[in-house]
Symmetry: C2
Subunit: 413 residues, 2 copies
């Protein structure tokens, strides 16, 4: 098969489809021609392509934003390619400096091991474990030894490293870069050499590191990998990228009811982005659904479908059904099945002010915050909105609710 | 012994003298107060200080410019301190980038081993081998492994590394710096940690690397070493630093006659610098000698003393005496004892032109060069200057001389 034939011949439907799946939702696929060649060769020879995703186990758990790349891996896995889930237990010794403005604190070997196990369990909720090659990069990085590290460092220049956006910025803003951070991209690139990777996936902030894999594979006499970057998922607020620190995230270990309700809380516009990046529904199915909504169907129906798909992935189909029912109950003003029971003593006057009730039942952190919530119309007692901050409750049992999701069954005696 | 006592008490004569020996000819001794403290503690406890000199075996032999630092080591060795001659067999894998404007080509392990043996033999012409600790830095560098290399790299920042003059200049002039070159100063500093060095010596161009030893020793919880830099020796031309590429050097493996004659060729002004840096005569003796010269004694006598001392160091006392005699013979226009005999056939005319004689006797590379030498008045036959390029020699034996040092006894038949 000559290159000339590849570029002039029409691309067969099967390859076109694989390319479309590869491109779905992606930010960049570089170089696309090379990827078509690799897909074609794979189809002709029956040899699966080797697709690499490396994750450093720097934090004990991950949110659904992290699964965008895992989903792409799964789609390529379903096409029959060999996906490699690489746990960067060695590179975590450094901490990926990508997009950060300061040096990461190092983790202990124990933390790395615990986090790696958690990552693996979470990744296997998206990937098919029986078809996934699981690797740890300490396997080849330790073998490099001190001499290998020097030989590797000799394969890149300070100037080119400094071209990386975040390094450039930190250097010129006077924020310190430790020398070992320059070694990080080299080690990530060397992983691609060790794994003979055909494609490496990552977030858009990973592009420099992914391109390093191409550079080093050529240095080591290998065909360079292609590079596929995925956009960072926008969080619940519809504005900023999903992140724990911005509290706009869905953790993949959150309970089914919370997960379902959080998906239902996003805007209709954001929903379609999430469909592209988080759903395994085909692009054709999504297009058909969108057409129905444009034709008058309630967008809420599409959101329920997405919430059920995501909830089912991380829990089960049954849990997703139950979460839907819980959500319906609550949005009808109903009370969820499973709410905490709180017993509170009545004061001397035989009644307790609503502010104290909210505070003592852990529905508000303080009485002043409780008053603020009442002013905002977010507090209900037995389904009725409370407007009077001076309300006192006498002996009895009440369902007290703050916002859509915080409930307590309070018994005053 | 408190620090306060040290700084306020008068420094004893013994320490003053050791300090003077340390400072002789040096460019910088940093920090001098710390060095006095170390010398004092050593005298009080009877514990020798550990004095480090590292040399990378990058070239197979060295010139007397390299011995300036070795001489300082020997002076400190004679004071009873422990000198460590460190062969950088590991760091040679990188090649010290100090003062260079491009990346060094790497050496093979075999070249490094051969050069290391040569260096050791040459260093032992200056140092007392029985009192010298000989080490190779592969001993602890290999043990670092890939993880140790990362931990070491984490102890310095890119910005501080970039402050090094040559790195700064190369970066801003767009000359590439390979990443492994940034690791070199760290490894040199780590050698000081491994050796628990009290003082490190080097040329003035080594200051950054020597100071790195202080930084890393503190990082690893050690008392930091002091740093002593020696100026670069000015070469035979009296202008530029001694260097093979500038052909103004005396190789320490050159024969005794050449070595002696080369020392005799330097200017009177340069001679006193060489006394400071190359002679083991005490400063008091040198001062007395200088006074004699100023009082009317021929400076040539002082130069002979220096030439004999240097020649004796690298050969023997007897060889130095012989070299002096050879030099005297030649400067009187006499013929040295040991000159090559060359037999040349006469041509058809029964005579051979002087140009051909010079060329065939290996006294000139070509007849045109021979003509140039004759024009310059540099050619003698039996002590008479040849002025006629057309001179032909008939059958017989002649002493043919080019310049001051090239001779042959030519027999034409």
């Amino acid at each position: 098969m000559s290159d000339a034939k590849l570029t002039t011949a029409p691309i067969p439907d099967e390859i076109q489809e694989a390319l479309a799946i590869s491109l779905r939702g992606c930010d960049e696929l570089l170089p696309q021609d090379d990827w078509v060649k690799k897909l074609t060769r794979s189809a002709q020879t029956g040899t699966p392509l080797r697709i690499k995703l490396g994750l450093d186990p720097t934090a004990p758990d991950i949110h659904i934003g992290h699964t965008v790349v895992l989903n792409k891996m799964r789609q390529l896995q379903d096409l029959g390619h060999q996906v490699i889930f690489l746990i960067g237990d060695f590179t975590t010794l450094i901490g990926d400096p990508s997009g950060r403005d300061s040096t990461r604190p190092p983790l202990t070997a124990e933390q790395i091991q615990v986090n790696a196990e958690t990552y693996k369990a979470q990744a296997y909720k998206v990937l098919d474990p029986s078809k996934t090659e699981l690797r740890y990069n300490s396997e080849w990085c330790d073998q490099l030894g001190a001499r290998g590290m020097i030989q590797l460092s000799a394969k890149y220049t300070v100037a080119r490293m400094m071209e990386r956006n975040d390094f450039h910025q930190r250097f010129h803003e006077g924020n310190s870069i430790s020398l070992h951070e320059f070694i990080y991209p080299l080690l990530q690139g060397y992983d691609s050499v060790a794994l003979k990777s055909d494609l490496e996936l990552g977030g858009t902030d990973q592009k420099f590191n992914l391109m390093m894999g191409r550079h080093l594979q050529q240095e080591y006499g290998q065909e360079p990998q292609c590079v596929l970057t995925m956009p960072l998922l926008v969080g619940l607020d519809g504005v900023q990228k999903m992140s724990k620190s911005k509290n706009n995230y869905i953790g993949i270990t959150e309970d089914a009811n919370t997960m379902f309700a959080k998906v239902m809380s996003i805007s209709d516009a954001l929903m379609w982005d999430w469909y592209t990046l988080l759903s395994f529904m085909s692009l054709a199915e999504i297009a058909a659904l969108k057409l129905e909504i444009e034709g008058g169907r309630n967008p809420r129906d599409a959101k329920v479908l997405l919430a059920k798909e995501i909830t089912a992935r991380f829990h089960s189909g049954a849990a997703a059904e139950a979460a839907e029912q819980d959500f319906v109950n609550r949005s009808r003003g109903g009370v969820p099945d499973d709410i905490p029971d709180v017993a509170l003593p009545l004061g001397e006057g035989g009644a307790l002010g609503i502010g104290q009730v909210l505070k003592q039942a852990n529905l508000a952190p303080s009485t002043s915050e409780a008053n603020r919530l009442i002013d905002g119309g977010g507090v209900r007692v037995d389904s009725s909105v409370v407007s009077d901050k001076g309300l006192k409750l006498g002996a009895g049992t009440y369902v007290v609710q703050v916002g859509k999701r915080k409930f307590a069954r309070v018994t005053l005696a």
